[in-house]
């Protein structure tokens, strides 16, 4: 079978029309939704700000520090102090190193609780993951810090 007949008998017109309609509506919806995402995010953050008003602590921050227990707040030096203390150690290692290496060298130098300190430096993006398990010391960032 061939020609218009082939199209009609196999419901071709319907397939074309329906198909076109659906892909269009689908992408229209998607484009609408993604155009709203940042507005929703803004609302959400405002909500957080409101909450902050009441209890002086950003939930986000809590999230960040979840595996650095509260007490560490009291005992740990500031990130800047940590940089001062740890950069010389990092310089003894190669460009990119494993945290364990940094950890051991920190112990050798009797740094106070190196584990949490290193964690802090990571959170502050001074130690940057290379994605292959190794880390580098982020000079630019540091200068800002």
């Amino acid at each position: 079978m061939i020609g218009i007949e082939n199209i009609t008998n196999h419901n071709g017109w319907a397939m074309a029309a329906v198909g076109a309609t659906i892909v269009f509506s689908g992408l229209v919806v998607l484009s609408f939704v993604i155009s709203q995402i940042h507005k929703l995010l803004k609302l959400w953050e405002d909500r957080e700000k409101l909450i902050e008003r009441f209890k002086k602590k950003a939930p986000a921050a809590v999230a960040e520090k979840v595996d650095a227990p509260a007490y560490s707040e009291r005992h740990l030096p500031s990130v800047d102090e940590l940089i001062g203390a740890y950069e010389p150690l990092a310089d003894q290692l190669e460009e990119s190193f494993n945290l364990s290496q940094l950890f051991e060298i920190a112990i050798k130098n009797d740094m106070p609780h190196p584990h949490l300190s290193i964690q802090r430096l990571q959170e502050a993006d001074i130690l940057v993951a290379q994605g292959d398990g190794t880390f580098t010391w982020n000079k630019q960032k540091e200068s800002k810090a």
Binding site: M1, G12, M15, A16, A20, L27, V29, H38
Partner: protein
């Protein structure tokens, strides 16, 4: 002794070859030349071209070396094509390499990615008009999506016997984008339109980039669940990339994984063009319809952009419509070059990429829709 010798000779390619093998070997060499010397999409043309050579070395059926012979090595490697696994994996890598921020910055460009899919449906009618069976017609139509893995995936599901010609057509025209699109673009746009400048994209927050793949997979696949093998992987790859906590996985996905899939997908698709199954009148029809599909896709993108401009306050440059046919990143580059020609300070590349990526999503959805029509 001589019996064995002559028996062997009658099994050599020299004895078994006929003109069709030589035609295909010329085709394969052309692919290699275009990919290597002309640098047309080498990542596609080089493995395919070499595959065409290997697939068209004449051999005595029954040895179990041909790609269509069960238990041959090529057959096992081809398994990833016939099952649709390679295309899915390529989409995983594609997602891990794609930066959707320019699309997120200007969502309305996504409509151009939708408009360019019209080429698919016109081609569907065209193919049926020329007497192709519905499932074949649908597989041919998807060439208009200008997306190799998508075409292979749908064809593997609907008309496996056409994987060779449809894949070759899709990839050839993707490589020929610089030849096909510019004339149509010039024809359908005025100089004034081509001079329109697009506003710089706003900055996208990390959170938006994180939410997009989740929203994308849910919205698209709720609409067309059959697009899941492609879009599920695409957005998985993109989430791995954007979430920033599994970089080692994202790196592997965008290097070792996608490269391996690319080599074996291209090579086996090339091998599948065995002269006797490939050189048919159907293939000719497919190549003709493929060219039509690409042209209509480009045209509908351009025209739809002009229509949008009737309603939009700040106009969009209609050239971008041509980038709606995915063909990453060829079409975006053509749009960009054409824009530069008119005004050396008009940079459309980033906007073009936005249309490209929405084109990829669009044609994957279309593949899902067409597939679901035939279940």
């Amino acid at each position: 002794m001589f019996d064995l010798f002559f028996q062997f000779l009658t099994n050599t390619g020299y004895y078994l070859a006929d003109y069709r093998h030589y035609i295909m070997i010329v085709v394969g060499s052309t692919f290699l030349y275009l990919g290597t010397a002309k640098k047309y999409e080498p990542l596609l043309l080089v493995p395919i071209g070499f595959g065409i050579l290997v697939g068209n070395i004449p051999f005595f059926k029954g040895f179990g070396i041909g790609i269509y012979e069960a238990n041959s090595v090529l057959h096992y490697l081809y398994f990833g094509v016939t099952t649709g696994v390679y295309p899915s994996i390529v989409f995983l890598g594609l997602g891990a390499m794609t930066d959707f921020s320019s699309l997120l910055a200007q969502p309305k460009l996504m409509l151009l990615g939708a408009a360019a899919q019209m080429g698919i449906y016109f081609t569907l009618l065209g193919a049926m008009f020329f007497g192709f069976a519905p499932r074949e017609a649908a597989s041919i139509a998807i060439i208009g999506g200008a997306d190799g893995p998508t075409s292979i995936f749908l064809t593997a599901k609907l008309a496996p016997h056409l994987i060779g010609p449809i894949a070759i057509a899709a990839y050839s025209y993707m490589a020929l984008i610089p030849v096909i699109q510019p004339p149509i673009m010039r024809l359908l746009t005025t100089r004034k339109e081509r001079l329109i400048k697009m506003p710089p994209a706003r900055n996208i927050s990390k959170k938006e980039l994180l939410i997009f793949p989740v929203a994308g997979v849910l919205l698209c696949c709720f609409l067309a669940p059959t697009a899941l093998p492609l879009l599920g992987m695409l957005f998985l790859g993109n989430f791995l990339k954007e979430c920033g906590v599994v970089n080692r996985l994202a790196n592997t996905a965008q290097s070792a994984i996608v490269d391996t899939a690319t080599i074996f997908l291209g090579f086996t698709v090339g091998c599948s063009t065995q002269a006797d199954v490939f050189l048919t009148s159907k293939s000719l029809g497919i190549f003709f319809l493929g060219a039509v599909a690409f042209s209509i896709a480009t045209a509908s993108g351009l025209i739809f952009a002009k229509i949008m401009n009737l309603f939009l306050k700040d106009k969009i440059n209609p050239l971008l419509g041509a980038a709606g046919v995915s063909a990453v990143p060829g079409s975006a580059r053509e749009v960009h070059l054409m824009g530069l020609k008119e005004d050396p300070t008009n940079f459309l590349l980033m906007h073009g990429m936005a249309c490209n990526s929405s084109g990829v999503i669009g044609s994957a959805i279309c593949a899902g829709i067409l597939w679901s029509f035939f279940v």
